[in-house]
């Protein structure tokens, strides 16, 4: 994820992004499906973090989406993907996502 200008996760920022957590079938094409959807539907994706869970049967993908006005469309289009098993909007995870961003910036 790209670094943001604040490294303090607790500091309040204007919220024009949404945090989504997807559960997807874990196979080599699934990231392409998600990223491809964002490109061809002209949605902005600010950050993506993916990791296998459930002994590798599914993956969990965190998305930071820069489309608060189109969020409804983003979610509906993601829902249509056969490999997307669940979508949650997770504003509560924003501090965690910011921490992850900060960590990425530190790693360099």
């Amino acid at each position: 994820m790209p670094a943001t200008d604040t490294h303090n996760p607790s500091e309040a920022q204007p919220v024009n992004t949404a945090i989504l957590r997807l559960t997807v079938n874990n196979h080599p094409g699934v990231m392409l499906q998600i990223c491809g959807l964002f490109v061809r539907r002209n949605f902005n994706l600010e950050g993506i973090f993916c990791s296998a869970v459930d002994q590798g049967v599914t993956s969990c993908i965190w998305l930071k989406v820069d489309e608060t006005d189109k969020l409804d469309q983003v979610i509906k289009q993601l829902t249509k993907l056969e490999d997307v098993l669940a979508i949650e909007e997770r504003p509560d995870a924003r501090p965690g996502v910011s921490e992850m961003e900060a960590m990425m910036a530190r790693i360099g």
């Binding site: 094409g29 491809g36 409804d72 469309q73 509906k76 829902t79």
Partner: protein
């Protein structure tokens, strides 16, 4: 206990799913599949001459039956050739299952012979796709692919099968249970509430308008839609994909809306106070500039794909579900209500802006030809078109009376669609006449399928409206590029009748014929596939026309136009 290889598993499952026809072309990477297919006694293989043709033949079957149809292609160029037909099916929501051969697993990613990333390339133009990694997976993938293609919003599904997966042996106890097919009929959870709200809006409306499209046909909802229109006395427009839902002579029918609609239709839309949209996706050819579309209207939108609701136009009531189920739920709540003022207003618009002018039907002109063919083909005929002026003339003037009667490429607008789609329709309905209206430009995109038509003895009558040009492009250059005609007409005259004869068709040429009417009648009555070349004046135009990007009330042209 069964022991079969991957290819045999595919073919056996296709048989179990009731597939009786597959169009395709073999090659190195799908030969095991063809070997298994050769052993099938219930599936007929139709050898196309180009994989795009195979894809459109499958579309012809799927569009007329409503059930998923199958096409095969080999890896590499076979797969790239079929992509256009998949994209076309994707945009028009046509159920297809395309099975491609792929390089053996161990070679994937090495730029092996005829290797392309079929999975990656087909992803954005399919409803779903698979790269099969083991033969055992085919047991679940094949039935799932069929279910996905045919259920909900229909669409194409691609299964890419590496050659060594086709030959891999698998032992298994029993075949999987068949999956439920067809449209999910269950309305959304908030359905009842949305239905009540929608019904109240319809009952309260003074100037409601039904706007129906391809989804109503997919839902098998044409007759309930008609009931709804009649019960509420609601004037009805259809999209290009909805033609046939309501016969054009029905008193409530206003025909097609949009870019090439009758003036009165687009003007009436402008005045409606409630738009009841069902199985439509507010495509720009239908709506014109969306911000100016039905500006004073509240909107009810019924669509099985929830992402369509509010995608382009915000709605006052959204019903995410099957159109037939929604109409059936709505009907008991719709008051029987005459709307004399609204009907009078529309009649006035139609009198002020008549749809046709008697001159339009003079001998030698496109509408005259189309009506003559309709007369000769009869009401049972299936009609396919290619893309261009001839397509729009058919949409405007052919007396379409039933859903699935018209096969036309709406969303992708693919020249080359008409002939193979007509062949597919003829294969699926050998007892029905099939007419393909094409242009001299479009026909040259898949002209090789004339051979397939002859080989299969498909009952198709190919009517070429020959204006020796890319007519619709030329018309745009006339209207929007100061008549700077460039690359839009052909410098050579092609003898299509001679070419058709070369392929083994019967052919007729109305060019210079002493008695063109008699020749046409004879040609239409000739058994077997035949081609009829009809000269059309290059200056014949499609009118009216809404300039791309303009509001639907901005209409250019028409001999009887008032502005």
């Amino acid at each position: 206990m069964h022991t079969l290889n991957g290819a045999q598993i595919i073919i056996r499952q296709l048989e179990q799913l009731g597939v009786d026809t597959i169009a395709g072309i073999p090659g190195g990477a799908n030969l095991p599949l063809y070997d298994a297919l050769a052993a099938s006694t219930t599936i007929r293989h139709v050898l196309a001459r180009h994989e795009q043709g195979a894809g459109f033949i499958a579309q012809g079957i799927a569009r007329t039956t409503g059930k998923p149809a199958v096409c095969f292609a080999t890896s590499g160029p076979g797969a790239t050739n079929v992509l256009t037909a998949l994209a076309d099916a994707y945009l028009d929501s046509v159920p297809l299952v395309c099975i491609t051969g792929q390089t053996p697993r161990a070679l994937i990613g090495t730029d092996a012979f005829q290797e392309v990333d079929t999975y990656g390339m087909s992803m954005p133009i399919t409803k779903h796709n698979y790269l099969v990694r083991s033969a055992a997976d085919l047991l679940t993938i094949v039935p799932k692919a069929f279910q996905l293609a045919g259920s909900g919003r229909p669409g194409p599904v691609l299964i890419d099968v590496p050659k060594d997966v086709q030959t891999e042996m698998v032992s298994f106890e029993s075949w999987p249970e068949p999956l439920a097919a067809g449209v999910e009929r269950s309305p959304a959870s908030d359905g009842a509430q949305a239905i009540t709200a929608a019904a109240a809006m319809i009952n309260a409306a003074a100037r409601p308008m039904l706007y129906l499209g391809g989804g109503v046909i997919h839902a098998g909802a044409a007759s309930v839609a008609r009931k709804l229109a009649e019960q509420g006395e609601i004037p009805t427009v259809v999209t290009l994909m909805g033609l046939g839902i309501l016969p054009s002579e029905h008193p409530l029918s206003l025909g097609m809306l949009g870019m090439h609609a009758p003036r009165a239709t687009n003007l009436a839309m402008e005045e409606c106070d409630l738009l009841i949209a069902a199985g439509v996706r507010f495509d720009d050819r239908a709506t014109g500039r969306i911000s100016a579309f039905c500006p004073g209207a509240k909107v009810i939108h019924v669509d099985i794909d929830a992402s369509e609701i509010g995608k382009l136009r915000s709605v006052d009531a959204g019903i995410a579900g099957d159109a037939r189920a929604a109409f059936i739920a709505l009907l008991p709540h719709i008051e029987k209500r005459p709307r004399p003022e609204w009907r009078r207003r529309i009649r006035q618009l139609q009198q002020d802006h008549p749809r046709f002018h008697p001159d339009d039907f003079a001998p030698g002109r496109p509408f005259h030809l189309i009506r003559q063919v309709a007369e000769l083909a009869g009401p049972e005929a299936y009609i396919s078109t290619d893309v261009g002026k001839h397509q729009m003339w058919v949409a405007q003037a052919y007396p379409l009376t039933r859903p699935r009667q018209l096969l036309t490429s709406g969303g992708l607008g693919t020249m080359g669609f008409g002939l193979p789609a007509a062949i597919g329709a003829a294969l699926a309905h050998p007892d029905k006449p099939v007419v393909c209206f094409t242009g001299d430009g479009s026909l040259q995109m898949n002209i090789q399928e004339l051979a397939t038509a002859v080989e299969q003895q498909a009952q198709v009558k190919i009517v070429v409206l020959n204006n020796q040009s890319l007519g619709l492009v030329r018309q745009q250059q006339r209207l929007f590029y100061e008549r700077k005609y460039f690359a839009s007409s052909y410098r050579i005259k092609v003898d299509f009748a001679a070419i058709a004869r070369g392929f083994g068709l019967q052919a007729f040429d109305l060019d210079g014929a002493d008695n063109p009417d008699a020749l046409l009648t004879g040609a239409m009555q000739t058994p077997g596939p035949c081609l009829i070349n009809v000269p059309i004046d290059i200056e014949e135009e499609v009118t009216p026309m809404v300039p791309p990007g303009a509001a639907n009330t901005t209409m250019i042209g028409g001999s009887h136009a008032r502005n």
